[in-house]
Subunit: 454 residues, 2 copies
């Protein structure tokens, strides 16, 4: 709470060709592949939604050399650096100390932070481990960003432009000094690693700081159209020429492909940005039609829940090889309970028979992975729950269980409704988890197309 | 297929303090937060398992300036650079061209690659879009890494040490030259973005290249102990002093915390590495005991399936608020079908009553989110499937549905077995998806403790 509140609303800042925002994710666990860097996606998307683009993201292990050289390099380029991690209480949480040392700032014990940490432990009737005290150390001149969801506060430091030598405060051993490097004027923000601490802190403190210190020069407009069932190169071939005039006027087009899906991102800056993006969207809509399944950050399951809700329809599910993946995705959507009464995971033949009424003869004649069983599963699930639609999936997720006729990746997806029952036979020869995700996506896409086109 | 095969087995290479391996992930979709960078985790983990540590990972958007400056900087530090993405057929796939330009290498059309691409389209009875031709362009002197799972081949380039100016071939406009930068001798590998193309290519081509070009100086041993139910600072406080002697002998200790879990990573290099790590593991095992739930990359669900399999026990599941998340996690484990006959997602009160025999009076007296309903759900699921154990979960995932007495995050987890039924009342006040993941984890941990300690 040291600075910031008393800063003038729109400080003079060197006008730049573009604003350079860099993320620095510290953590040996990242470099060892122990954890997935979800901070990058979350922070980049949040910033993009606000019209700011991250120009570089760097991850380094928790060593003095790596962290300090990464920060020094970022300071030579960036206007805003957002560093994550390394603020915890254990011996490998060194980011705060190393950055303070690099900037030549002393650490002081902040009583307010220390009391906050003590209160958190007291509230759980736990003694505060001595280690946690380091989390109350704050570099001189840094703004403290309160952390209601954890012990480590965030820190924001405004860095003055420096052209001389940076390193330890004068008088200390010159051997320990870090090499010469000029610093540009910049803000350096340090956020704690746990997502449920980082995310509210970003929204509550970093977004206002960004808006105040780096107001956008021109409005920014962006729209993503998410397509299914069409290859990336074909999407481009179909839409590029028709969008040419708008591209000349400032439209930017980006593509992002995943299995069976391609996102088309349309964006533009400036006063005409909104008009350009809306015109581009209309053109792409006309060309791709129902192959567009959603917009912006909408997931397939969100679209399906929205369509079911709008049509007051319910969905049941009987999953064999996807093992709950479809239900899990549908129930990730807030409000899913209004359209999803429930479902089954029927891994064994017995459960398919007992709960869904799949007939022993059908299993014997066709095997569990067959069009006939997918049909009886879908119809049984719909009947049992009295739902408008039912999805059923049976297949071979692997790695074992494949045969010559039905290799790993074979899957039958059934969709039952008032219209009857349709079955699609797919082949998804991917490793187990990808197989489940791709199959779940295909099943939801089948339902979406039915809902949109009927 | 140009080079590499004829290289001597152990080429002279400058001895370095450490081997610098850098990852470069290119893609505007990464910087816009459209996709999660799963390559980082996958490649870092694979490399760590082989005894190589990634010293830096960088992600940049698909622009000439960003890609070329990132590659140039990496070449000033790294011995091996692994670049991912930007080898696709659309206009934003520019990595290959930009790297060739930076290195002053011309692109040539590789007939073998072009034929491979044509065959892939022909096999699907599709015409090859003209755009895909660019994927057959190969920088001069580059090794082509075959891609049986997609169109774009990978590329590996051995870079000679350069101290002069790098950029366009001589004779071209000096204005377009990139700034002076000395290159160290290094390998630069370019891999395609889709995971199912990148992963086998890494295993089949990059791992052998790594072993040949960068053989490890000393053996490397690493072991991760995964703990649950104990805070990061407390784990450190308990084990640090007892491990002190081993730390002096070269043991490295790392911590990685997530909600309710802490990973302790023990590693050492050199001839005594194995002995040091085994001694450290024995010490930590003795101190933390059953709080260690798994080892290395083992997930909680893998441990539970392993324990159930070893004890020949089966598990049923009745999920309300987790909506299939527990079943999804359990069925991610190969071989789950031997211990998991099936389960229910019972989102509505009707389905709880109809399928699990939860009584209307219990629902009326206590509400769906209650100890009593969790108990009846668990016992009903166990009975219906004749399973040895059943897990049941009922709670309020949010964002809606909370009350003063039962706020969002309230959850009851039931575990039924021969021993009877136990219920745990938890409070997980996180956003919806985190709530589901944390609750699923707690439910599996309850079962694990029961399996281990009985």
């Amino acid at each position: 709470m040291k600075r910031g509140a008393d800063l003038p609303a729109a400080r003079a800042r060197p006008k730049l060709g573009r604003l350079n925002i860099e993320l620095l994710n510290t953590g040996s666990e990242l470099m060892l592949g122990r954890v997935l860097n979800t901070h990058q996606q979350w922070l980049c998307r949040r910033l993009a939604d606000l019209g700011y683009v991250v120009t570089r993201q760097v991850a380094v292990p928790d060593t003095a050399h790596d962290i300090q050289s990464a920060v020094r390099e970022a300071l030579s380029r960036a206007d805003l650096i957002i560093a994550t991690g390394g603020l915890g209480p254990t011996s490998d949480d060194v980011t705060r100390d190393l950055i303070a040392q690099l900037l030549g700032k002393k650490l002081r014990l902040d009583d307010a932070v220390l009391n906050h940490i003590k209160r958190r432990f007291a509230a759980r009737s736990l003694p505060m481990p001595k280690n946690n005290e380091v989390q109350a150390l704050v570099p001189e001149g840094a703004m403290v960003l309160a952390n209601p969801n954890g012990t480590a506060p965030g820190l924001a430091i405004e860095i003055e432009s420096q052209t001389g030598r940076a390193g330890l405060p004068p008088g200390q051993d010159a051997q320990q000094r870090v090499p010469t490097s000029p610093f540009r004027a910049a803000w350096l923000v340090m956020l704690p690693g746990p997502p449920r601490e980082l995310r509210p802190m970003f929204d509550n403190f970093v977004v206002p700081l960004l808006r105040r210190e780096f107001p956008l020069a021109a409005p920014f407009v962006c729209r993503t159209l998410r397509t299914s069932g069409i290859a990336e190169s074909l999407v481009q071939e179909k839409i590029e020429a028709p969008l040419n005039t708008l591209a000349v006027a400032g439209l930017e087009i980006g593509y992002c492909a995943r299995t069976g899906q391609v996102d088309v991102r349309l964006s533009a800056r400036g006063g005409n940005g909104g008009k350009i993006v809306r015109a581009a969207e209309a053109i792409v809509q006309k060309i791709l039609g129902a192959q567009i399944y959603g917009f912006d950050n909408e997931e397939m399951e969100t679209v399906v829940v929205r369509l079911l809700t709008g049509r007051k329809k319910t969905l049941a599910m009987a999953e064999s090889c996807t093992g709950g993946c479809i239900a899990h995705r549908v129930t990730n959507v807030p409000g899913a309970s209004a359209v999803f009464p429930g479902g089954w995971v029927v891994y064994s033949n017995e459960s398919k028979q007992k709960f869904l009424g799949v007939r022993a003869e059908t299993l014997a004649a066709h095997g569990a992975v067959s069009e006939a069983v997918a049909r009886e599963m879908a119809e049984g699930a719909r009947l049992q729950l009295g739902a408008d639609f039912a999805i059923a999936v049976t297949g071979i997720a692997g790695p074992g269980g494949g045969t010559k006729e039905k290799p790993v990746g074979t899957v039958f997806i059934g969709l039952a409704g008032e219209f009857g029952t349709v079955i699609e036979h797919k082949f998804n020869p991917y490793e187990r988890e990808t197989f489940k995700e791709v199959t779940a996506w295909q099943a939801l896409e089948m339902l979406r197309v039915r809902l949109v086109c009927s």
